[in-house]
């Protein structure tokens, strides 16, 4: 069984036990049990019984509906996981470390050589000629730092991300990221550094 499933099931069972113990404690402490209440004067026998046991009826409602609902949510989470859940699972299980990226909604991710990466960093020339003609332009120091810190066995990955509104959009101002292109250094299964060298807000 999936580790998350055990966690959820244990949590719900534990919470349920706590609720039962708490309610039993409250009933005992304040004498709220049905045995202490006088019977209602009128009404059919079955209704009087129901009223006498109304606390348990309410409790049973929660037991019968809330818990199955929780189990249904759990099943739904396992059978039809969300994109983020799938990504988390991929990170945990996949032999391919590409799933470890910060930007989990990437649409492309492939291993590239340093020469290929440098070719991606060729830019349009600065019309005023102020910017030196180096790969990645003003991002060159970050590129140099990134590849300079690479150790034997590290790999370079090229990734692209479709345009979208990111989760961290605040109410104050839209933080729309366009289509992103970037490079990352991976060591074993961990991303050591990322450089997003192009962001197309018109995409």
């Amino acid at each position: 069984m999936h580790a998350d499933a055990w966690w959820w099931l244990g949590g719900y069972l534990g919470l349920g036990t706590l609720v039962i113990l708490l309610l039993r404690g409250v009933v005992s402490a304040y004498g709220m049990g049905w045995r202490h209440r006088p019977e209602p004067p009128r009404g059919p026998q079955t209704w009087r019984e129901l009223q006498a046991h109304r606390q348990w009826v309410v409790f049973a409602f929660f037991v019968w509906w809330i818990w199955p609902l929780a189990v249904l949510i759990l099943i739904q989470k396992i059978m039809w996981p969300s994109q983020l859940d799938q990504n988390d699972r991929c990170i945990a299980q996949a032999a391919d470390p590409q799933y470890a990226f910060t930007y989990k909604r990437r649409t492309t991710c492939r291993k590239v050589s340093r020469a290929e990466a440098l070719a991606m960093g060729q830019l349009e020339p600065d019309p005023l000629g102020r910017m030196p003609n180096v790969a990645f332009g003003h991002l060159n120091p970050a590129w140099e730092a990134m590849v300079g810190a690479m150790a034997p066995g590290d790999t370079l990955r090229y990734f692209t991300i479709s345009p979208r509104r990111q989760r961290q959009d605040g109410p104050q101002w839209p933080h729309h990221r366009g289509a992103l292109r970037g490079l990352a250094v991976l060591r074993k299964r961990l991303v050591q550094a990322e450089l997003v060298f192009e962001s197309d807000h018109g995409a």
């Binding site: 600065d126 019309p127 005023l128 332009g137 003003h138 991002l139 990322e194 450089l195 962001s199 018109g202």
Partner: protein, 163 residues
């Protein structure tokens, strides 16, 4: 929500309002050592940049940014981000559309750059190189409508130490 202070764009001899953040891709690229902080609720991004279109290139020509802690906010300029380019920085990292609203206010929205004005000038930019531009007329404002980019209110945060 609070309407946000806009950037500025110097284009064809005009000082225009720019409702777009072309510096954001650079700040989010992984190359940026600075962390700007908001001096007020109308400037959550923590800076105001002045941009210019020269020789069909988009350049960041000046910057007023805010760094520091909640107790003391320090004002910094373009040299803090690009010390070797005091004359302006070619914005090769940006592709997208610049939006420059102008004219009287049509509809005020106290959030983001969401207010609408009589006209919007859209300028296409591809890797810092400026392409086509076109103007959209959004409507006709009432006679007493305020002219130009408008911010209704904001709350200041922290003590700003100016250089």
């Amino acid at each position: 929500m609070t309407a946000q202070a806009a950037e500025r764009l110097l284009h064809k001899g005009q000082d225009m309002t720019l409702c777009c953040d072309p510096l954001e891709p650079y700040l989010n690229s992984g190359a940026n050592p600075l962390r700007f902080r908001a001096p007020s609720t109308s400037l959550w991004r923590g800076y105001v940049g002045t941009w210019a279109i020269e020789s069909q290139g988009l350049y960041l020509v000046s910057l007023r940014g805010y760094v520091g802690t909640m107790d003391e906010v320090k004002e910094v300029g373009l040299e803090a981000l690009f010390p070797a380019y005091p004359q302006g920085v070619f914005a090769h990292w940006f592709s997208g559309e610049l939006r420059c609203p102008s004219g009287p206010l049509l509809h005020y929205v106290h959030g983001s750059y969401a207010s609408t004005y009589e006209r919007d000038l859209f300028i296409e930019v591809r890797r810092g190189v400026v392409g086509k531009e076109h103007e959209v007329v959004n409507g006709q404002a009432e006679p007493k409508a305020p002219e130009g980019y408008t911010l209704a209110a904001h709350t200041t945060m922290g003590n700003i130490k100016r250089n």
